[in-house]
């Protein structure tokens, strides 16, 4: 039985659970209190409650001082005013003080019009920055291939720290120094590239300003597109088509697959392909590898390896376990390797003149594409990675209104995909896709019910069994690196036993990726994208990877056997134990 108390906010009395904060109670009462540092992602059980920004100050009767609504617990009979002149002034002053030590280059800032500090300044009617004190100036950290850290734009809300430490348990970011000298950064303020950062980008996803952003490659893509001697092919990840629409005013969960293909063609790409094709190839390899490991006493459990942040996490944090992930490259890298060999040969293009651009929901894919081992004769499998957000920017720049475009198909032969590939974009999807194929290969029977409902959901750690007619496979699924850590520790300590495990670094999987449109703390958006992914799967005529006719053709004409010699050379990789700071 829940304990309820009565509080009165702006003369309105509400009855709310005792453990509520003033902010929670105000939401219940339908009263808006502005917030900045506060972030409550219910599904992830992440609450950033540092109360550092002081933007949610309210007046409480019989208390001399104002109180931050986000971090002040309520008590019975509390009388609160959010609309008194004193409270309004205090909130505006908090923003003015933040702005007094913040660059004002908003017009050319990467977060222009998408910045939470900027919106707040507008909302609180800030018309001048009254304070002109000392300002901090720090060097820009552009050391990594994936994330840029601009300390000047940091407002010390500590959301990134909460995401990095509590959700992802990577522990890369922490507040350093004190007082006016406080910064947020890696230990010893090392450049990002010298840390164990996985570049999952969850810090970028929650940063309210442009203090943490992805490395922007939009200009690079435009340049390549306009070089006459280059043949530029593009591929798009499954999670893009269920999120891109948000950047063009569509409902979260809108599916824009056809419009996306049309838009990319309008941008001038020579060929518009689908990473889902690469995902189907991944399943051919991964399902075969799993069966191989099961039959030949290989290392179990086998972990999926589609997520580069997760791969980097295991290399740094569990160096003794680098032999458990599948050796399969991730789908977009596989795609790149196939494009620069099979496709190049087929259409008679010099692979050195081919540029492969990946549009990914992910920041880590940028760093992954730069890994030197993912190349053929020093020619990177994938040349440039841009995020969903960057693609949105480019489309707007080119004046392409996604909403008004007709639905078009991807180009072929690397544009056909199955429903199994579509679900790669959500937690549970990769392993479900693998099961659809493994089931048929192991049992030799047709799988009638392709949806493995037991593998779906949003719980951080899920366990399920899949019956392969006489062989029960124990499957584990984790999303969010904190959950992944727990699962790995249980395996290491012998507490859990699995045959196969799927791990995705971002909460929700790629639909919640660090490169996706900002969710501004609304995790319903991520759920809607997930639902859309399953809708996309149901809409496909073929739903098992090994039935993709273009994939079958690829193996017949070029690769030979799945998990065979050429496939090994082109589509598999290895991992290295790495040092941790």
């Amino acid at each position: 039985m829940k304990d309820y108390v009565k509080v009165t906010i702006n003369d309105k009395t509400v009855e709310v659970p005792r453990e509520y904060t003033i902010l929670n109670a105000a939401v219940e009462a339908g009263i808006k209190i502005p917030t900045l540092c506060h972030l409550d992602l219910h599904d992830l059980k992440m609450v950033n409650r540092t109360a550092s920004c002081r933007v949610c100050m309210v007046e409480i009767e019989q208390r001399p001082n104002l109180a931050p609504a986000c971090a002040t617990p309520i008590n019975d009979g509390m009388v609160i005013r959010t609309d008194s002149l004193r409270a309004i002034r205090a909130r505006r002053m908090a923003v003015e003080l933040l702005l007094s030590n913040h660059p004002t280059d908003c017009l050319i800032c990467q977060r222009n019009v998408r910045c939470e500090l900027q919106s707040l300044a507008q909302e609180l009617n800030v018309r001048e920055i009254k304070y002109s004190g000392k300002r901090n100036k720090y060097p820009l950290d552009t050391s990594s291939q994936a994330i840029i850290k601009n300390q000047d734009k940091c407002i010390l809300c500590r959301r990134c720290e909460t995401a990095c430490n509590e959700i992802q348990t990577c522990g890369i970011l922490s507040a350093l120094n004190r007082g006016f000298d406080t910064i947020v950064g890696p230990a010893f303020n090392l450049p990002m590239v010298e840390t164990s950062c996985t570049y999952c980008g969850q810090c970028v996803a929650v940063c309210p300003t442009a203090a943490l952003t992805e490395v922007n490659h939009t200009h690079k893509v435009w340049e390549e597109l306009h070089k006459p001697d280059k043949y530029v092919v593009v591929q798009v990840a499954p999670a893009i088509r269920v999120a891109l629409g948000e950047l063009f005013g569509m409902e979260a969960g809108s599916i824009v697959t056809g419009k996306l293909a049309a838009a990319l063609r309008r941008m001038g790409f020579d060929q518009v392909y689908d990473t889902e094709f690469g995902a189907d190839v991944t399943i051919m390899e991964e399902a075969k590898e799993l069966i191989h490991r099961l039959e030949h006493g290989g290392t179990l459990p086998m972990l999926t390896s589609c997520c580069p942040a997760w791969v980097s996490f295991i290399e740094h944090q569990f160096p003794d376990m680098v032999d458990v992930p599948s050796t399969c490259m991730s789908p977009h890298i596989m795609f790149g390797a196939i494009a620069k060999t099979y496709l190049a040969e087929k259409i008679g293009i010099d692979p050195k003149k081919m540029v492969v651009v990946s549009v990914m929901p992910c920041v880590a894919k940028k760093a992954e594409a730069a890994r030197t081992e993912l190349s053929i004769d020093d020619n990177d499998d994938v040349d440039i990675v841009i995020t969903t957000r960057e693609l949105g920017d480019m489309l707007k720049e080119a004046g392409i209104d996604l909403d008004k475009l007709p639905d078009e198909d991807f180009d072929h032969p690397l544009g056909k995909s199955t429903g199994a590939a579509s679900i790669f974009g959500t937690t549970g999807g990769v392993i479900e896709a693998a099961m659809r194929t493994a089931y048929e290969w192991v049992t030799g029977e047709t799988l009638e019910e392709v949806e493995f409902k037991q593998l779906r959901g949003m719980d951080g750690i899920r366990e399920a069994t899949v019956d392969l007619k006489g062989k029960e496979l124990k499957i584990g699924i984790a999303h969010g690196l904190g959950n992944a850590r727990q699962m790995l520790e249980d395996i290491r300590n012998g507490k859990s036993e699995f045959h196969a495990i799927e791990i995705m670094a971002c909460p929700g999987g790629c639909v919640g990726g660090g490169g996706q449109p900002y969710h501004y703390g609304n995790d319903e958006i991520v759920k809607k994208r997930q639902e859309a992914i399953y809708r996309e799967d149901r809409g496909k005529s073929i739903r098992k990877s090994h039935e993709n006719p273009e994939v079958i053709k690829l193996y017949k004409e070029y690769l030979g056997e799945p998990y065979g010699e050429l496939a090994h050379k082109l589509l598999h990789t290895k991992y290295e134990a790495k040092e941790r700071i």
Binding site: D141, I172, A175, A187, P191, I581
Partner: protein, 169 residues
Amino acid sequence: MPEELKVKEKNDLQKPIPKEHYEKLEEYIDSLPSLEGRLIQVLHHAQDIFGYLPRDVQLFIARRLGLAGAKVNGVVSFYSYFTEEPRGEYVINICTGTACFVKGANKLTEEFEKKLKISAGDTTEDRKFTLKDVRCVGACGLAPLVVINDKVFGRVKPEEIEGILEQYL
């Protein structure tokens, strides 16, 4: 920033950290009944052993306590008691609390800086003195005051500083 770090690293390399110090710290950590919530205690002890908390020692502690390096460095860089640089034989702490400030602590700082030819926060080249300020020591009746290692000098006048320093030469 990387430039600065490189210099720091070089300094660390120039003065190799004795292995016995690590053994001593390890022994201390092993003697603790549990490792939870012990970070500050361990850092205190480590600074007593090593004299300061260089990068490698911070990482050593992070690994032993199962904490992220950034977290340990965050705590070390937050508290002014902890130092990441080697300090001089004598650490001169000038109290800059409100009472001492009002009584002219900044004049004392200026005088020390002039006499030692270093700025507040730095160490003399011969590693004899480190000059720093400290927030309220809690002995406001003696304002302005200076603490050198464990010895307190109360109601200090700028002209007395030369004499004070002579005691340590």
